[in-house]
């Protein structure tokens, strides 16, 4: 039995899903698209599976999420729908409910947040509401686990009895007549393609293209329908889409007027407004945002993460030493011993020691998201992101990118336009992912023990800066065009639930561990094998004579201009394509050092300058295989994914080269060494680029109306530009300086 869970965003859907299924969940994708599909068995009812559909506000065919939900319900025919409705925000939530009811599938409304409603003095007449809507309504509180048993029982009953919603007339007058007329006309077509006729009729009036195409109406039918609609538009004195939306909201207003006693203003809402007085304040918002992000990074790298990681590293080393002693005692073959100790323990063990840091990073990101602060960041940063042609919404995937690029790229699905999605996908890898933390952690420990946090912040900032420059370039070249509308709900702040956060972290830990024991484990074994044997599969005493050294030497000239042409470094970078953590496990295997001894081993390979350059390169070079495969799916093109690999690596090399030369310049000056001619050329090039950019920016501001907020569409914009040019011409003629005056 299949139960679909549908509802608005921010109405407690994930919490309810967790309550329904417990930890018994399975995450996958909807067929053909990368919208995440979570499903789980309802606890105590093995026969019933619940599918978590994306959070949406309407069944219009605009965002990917809406289309997925529609297609799922229309094509997969779930046995029942649980529609979760936020009682505190009931009007807008019921807008979706009305569309779901018209689908004619057994349905139950789960009225969530009833605890909040009651504690604020509000009530809802449940029975009256059930009668008007024609479906069972169950008051619940997902976060307090109230009413869940009754909900499960009711939904299983309606599913078993195939109890469709009792047919209701949501409206009267002209809209009602038109829906009925269209319904009558298309009934046969709708039944042929198995779409509920009432739903199809309403969607047709809303000018829903996918439904219109699916119905395959003939010219005569289309003509009759458009005549009906025109008549309705005349009679209601508004257009078709507005008439339907108005009809739904009028019905809801009436329903709520009769059944809902609303508290004047809830405590939660008042609290939210008070918090926003600081968090989105005109002057405080940006400093507070920077402060919060700074604190998160400091806590992740400086306090919690590294302390736990260091402890774990010591533990793993102890375990490794104990195992080694035991293996010797047991007289195990030295090659097998080397495989276990130098391969598995050194490689996988080193990576495992970073689990706490990565989990802490995810914890903070999920707190930002679940508390509702992420939407405020989008609100505050929208104008800034618009400068690179994106909207504030893109900040969510980008911040998730600091955790892992894979979910970040997948998070772009919530963006409403294709262009925004693709551009955000291209920029997300510049947000340094947490797997790279293993590399930064190890290198800063070895080379900058006094300034670990500072070096990391510089790296993150560098990634963001390069990302912004890339964004500006992509916006002007690859993906020209206007950003899409930015219409977003700012939900009340909520204390994230312990269970939801716990489950998410458990999910991430499992994911990381399974990667450590699959991809990283295999890569480690491969590296161990390649470095322990030569081309003729003879064991080598010195890994410098191994197969791996031969491969590493082949590519190391590429990195010579960056200051590190050690074959071990190039090999580590090569294996980093499998997963970023393998860079460190490769170093561990190649130097035969465990987590505690690795810093010393690295010091022999790099100077502080080349170590920093190496970090810059790892920060920017190609994302890992997992990310590339998601990028390929999301962009729908293997070629574009390959383009990402090439571009990122190219950019990484160029930036690392500049950083290396600039670093050398400074250390050279201090050391009194003569400057290389190349340094002058480089500095000259950088200065020229800076001047050109500045000049271009200045000219740009003067010429286009990028700063004018008046022009919504291009025609108006062009007209205004034209007028400005004309005026500027006159101004010049009269010797005025009118062109500097801002328009609007």
């Amino acid at each position: 039995m299949m139960i679909a869970l549908a509802g608005n965003q921010n109405c407690g859907k994930t919490t309810l899903f967790n309550q329904l299924t417990g930890s018994n969940q399975h995450v996958g994708n909807f067929p053909g698209v990368t919208v995440e599909r979570k499903e789980g068995v309802i606890r105590g009812h093995k026969e019933a599976t619940v599918v978590d559909l994306p959070g949406i506000y309407s069944l219009s065919p605009y965002s990917k999420d809406e289309i997925v939900t529609r297609d799922y319900i229309l094509n997969q025919h779930p046995d029942a729908i649980i529609n979760i409705v936020d009682a505190m925000n009931i009007e807008r939530n019921l807008y979706l409910s009305m569309q779901l009811i018209s689908l004619g599938i057994p349905m139950v409304i789960a009225l969530n947040m009833m605890d909040e409603m009651r504690s604020n003095g509000g009530t809802i007449k449940i029975e009256d509401m059930e009668k008007v809507l024609g479906v069972p309504v169950i008051p619940i509180s997902a976060s307090k686990n109230e009413g869940i048993d009754e909900l499960i029982e009711t939904v299983l009953t309606v599913a078993k009895q195939r109890k469709k919603p009792v047919a209701q007339d949501f409206c009267e007058g002209a809209v009602h007549r038109t829906i009925n007329a269209v319904n009558h006309l298309i009934e046969d077509h709708a039944e042929r393609i198995k779409i509920p006729p009432m739903f199809a009729a309403t969607k047709l009036i809303e000018r829903d293209q996918p439904i219109e195409n699916a119905l395959e109406l003939n010219q005569h039918e289309l003509h009759t329908i458009s005549e009906c609609i025109e008549e309705m538009e005349k009679e209601t004195d508004t257009d078709r889409k507005s008439a339907i939306a108005d009809m739904r909201y009028c019905f809801i207003d009436k329903l709520c007027g009769n059944t809902v006693v609303k508290p004047t203003e809830s405590k939660q809402h008042r609290r939210s407004i008070r918090i926003d007085n600081i968090l989105t304040d005109k002057y405080l918002a940006i400093p507070v945002f920077l402060g919060i992000m700074g604190l998160i990074f400091y806590l992740t790298f400086g306090v919690i993460g590294s302390t736990l990681s260091d402890l774990l590293a010591v533990g793993i080393d102890k375990l490794s030493a104990l195992t080694a002693a035991w293996l010797v005692q047991a007289g195990v073959n030295p090659v097998v011993r080397s495989l276990l100790i130098d391969g598995v323990f050194a490689g996988v063990g080193t990576v495992l020691s970073f689990v706490p840091t990565i989990i802490v990073m995810f914890l903070f990101l999920s707190l930002l998201e679940d508390s509702g602060y992420m939407t405020r960041i989008a609100f505050v940063m929208d104008k800034l992101l618009r400068k690179i042609g994106l909207s504030g919404r893109s900040i969510v995937p980008m911040l998730v990118g600091f955790g892992c690029s894979v979910p970040a790229v997948m998070a772009t699905r919530t963006l409403p336009s294709d262009r925004d999605r693709k551009m955000t996908i291209l920029l997300t890898p510049y947000m340094s992912c947490s797997a790279k933390l293993t590399i930064y952690g190890m290198f800063t420990m070895a080379f900058f023990p006094q300034h670990r946090a500072l070096v990391m912040i510089v790296l993150y900032a560098l990634g963001i800066c390069v990302g912004i420059i890339a964004g500006l370039i992509i916006n002007k070249t690859l993906y020209k065009g206007n950003p899409v509308p930015f219409v977003m709900e700012l939900p009340n702040y909520r204390l994230p639930s312990l269970k939801t956060t716990g489950l998410l972290l458990w999910e991430k830990t499992k994911d990381f561990l399974s990667r450590a024991f699959t991809v990283i484990f295999l890569a480690t074994l491969a590296i161990w094998f390649l470095q322990s044997f030569d081309v003729r599969i003879n064991p080598v005493a010195d890994s410098a004579r191994s197969m791996l050294a031969a491969i590493g030497r082949l590519i190391s000239p590429v990195f010579a201009p960056l200051g590190f042409n050690d074959w071990k470094a190039s090999t580590a970078l090569l294996t980093g394509f499998a997963a970023k953590e393998t860079v460190i496990s490769t170093f561990a295997v190649l130097t035969g050092a465990g987590a505690s001894a690795l810093p010393a081993a690295l010091s022999a390979m790099f100077t502080p300058v080349t170590a920093f350059v190496f970090l810059v390169f790892t920060l920017l070079y190609t994302p890992c295989v997992a990310t590339i495969s998601v990028v390929k799916r999301e962009m729908g093109s293997g070629l574009k994914a390959l383009g990402v690999v090439v571009m990122q690596t190219g950019v990484a090399w160029a930036v690392a080269f500049v950083v290396y030369r600039v670093c050398l310049l400074f250390t050279g000056w201090r050391g009194g060494a003569a400057l290389h001619a190349l340094d002058f050329i480089l500095l000259g090039a950088v200065a020229a680029a800076a001047v050109l950019t500045a000049v271009h920016a200045g000219r740009h501001r003067g010429r286009h109306c990028s700063g004018c907020s008046a022009c919504g569409d291009e025609a108006v914009c062009a007209a205004q530009c034209g007028r400005r040019h004309a005026r500027r011409g006159q101004g010049r003629g009269r010797g005025h300086r009118q062109e500097n005056r801002p328009v609007d």
């Binding site: 505190m88 989008a378 509308p485 977003m488």
Partner: protein, 77 residues
């Protein structure tokens, strides 16, 4: 008057939502239908977008888009 000209803290009633396509559908879906009462709660630190209160919840939209919404001031609570 259009919505972007409404002073912060003042209430108004929506007369019509202009514009077209996805933006307009989204605005209507989110409950910005004629006769709905709205209030501008605040303007983002960088001057755009704006935060509205309507139907008991907060919604943000850009000034460009707010220009497509006709309102009349209406201070009845």
């Amino acid at each position: 008057m259009t919505l972007n000209n409404l002073p912060v803290g003042k209430r108004a009633r929506i007369l019509a939502v202009r514009g077209e396509g996805a933006l307009r559908d989204r605005l209507l879906d989110m409950g910005l239908t004629p006769h709905t009462q709205v209030m501008i709660r605040k303007i983002a630190p960088m001057g755009d977008p704006i935060e509205l209160t309507l139907r008991g919840y907060e919604l943000t939209l850009r000034i460009d888009d707010a220009q497509k919404i006709d309102v009349e001031e209406d201070d009845r609570a």
